[in-house]
Point group: C2
Chain length 201, copies 2
Amino acid sequence: MDVRDCHQGYHQGMVRWQPDSRNRLEQAALALYAERGFDDTTVAQISERAGLTERTFFRHFSDKREVLFGGAGALQDLLVGAVADAPPSAAPLDAVARALDAVGAVFADRREFARIRQRIITGSVELQERELIKLATLSAAVADALRQRGVGDPAAGLTGEVAVAVFRVAFEQWVGGTDRRDLTQLMRVGLDELRSVTSGA
Amino acid sequence: MDVRDCHQGYHQGMVRWQPDSRNRLEQAALALYAERGFDDTTVAQISERAGLTERTFFRHFSDKREVLFGGAGALQDLLVGAVADAPPSAAPLDAVARALDAVGAVFADRREFARIRQRIITGSVELQERELIKLATLSAAVADALRQRGVGDPAAGLTGEVAVAVFRVAFEQWVGGTDRRDLTQLMRVGLDELRSVTSGA
């Protein structure tokens, strides 16, 4: 820990760790990526903008790409947890529908953040690649959670892919368009559309 | 063109371009990636193994990653063409089913090549990322072909994702396992499974 990370000061003579340094680094990075572009932003600049050291940056993130993907682990836990917690009688796609509802709730108040983040990612092939790796990991995790519910293959793998496809298509509508529906609604509509498409309607 | 590209010799006094240099570069690259690993193979080594120059390599491929993904353009043309050529009355998923059959036919005699290629890609995050970008591009192209058939959104986007999901899951079974069914059969089973999953069965 570096003393520059403590400029909110001392407390009863003890150096206190600031619990919001991660959040400050995220805000600073997002602002800089939007202002200067992702490629032209350095870790040094992000740290400086956040009033923290580079050492602190690297305690939270492995590189400057990772700042944009820090939420992927939590998203995966949420999806996997919701699939696992669905009633034993729930069909695979119903378990996925519950998981997507849980995800929608978490994103509800993050549309502006998601919009800015999406613009940054769209502007860089490197970031698009990282995004796709994260989504593929998410799909594999959902498939594994379904296998643990006794779903066989290839149904588990396909349903994992479907879950991420519905999330992804709805997410793009949500951040990209002028649609006033929230992410949960858009994902529900997506699932219904998918059911309709696959039933040959 | 470099004279080293012509070691099959002169023909009636004229330097003849060898139409198989691309193929030779592919074979050399695949062999070296499998022997030494992707990261430890250079363009110079690939060119030397193929008996060609680096200049020739770069006339065919933008970098050493691209050797493994040279078929993506043809695959996309095939999928998009088959979707476009489906009878006007065909439902979106039926158009996709035809396109997947066309793809399966093309891959029929390439299982060993696909197996080696897959092992190389699985061993490198950089290659997995490129693979995912290619698959995402494929999905977007199928979605666009469906839109041109009058399919609306989000159905077009979702069906594009479904097409690639079925291809991907079947492809992994085909190259990874001991399953004796061919790619076409595995994709048909996948589509049926998907229909069954989404109908809540």
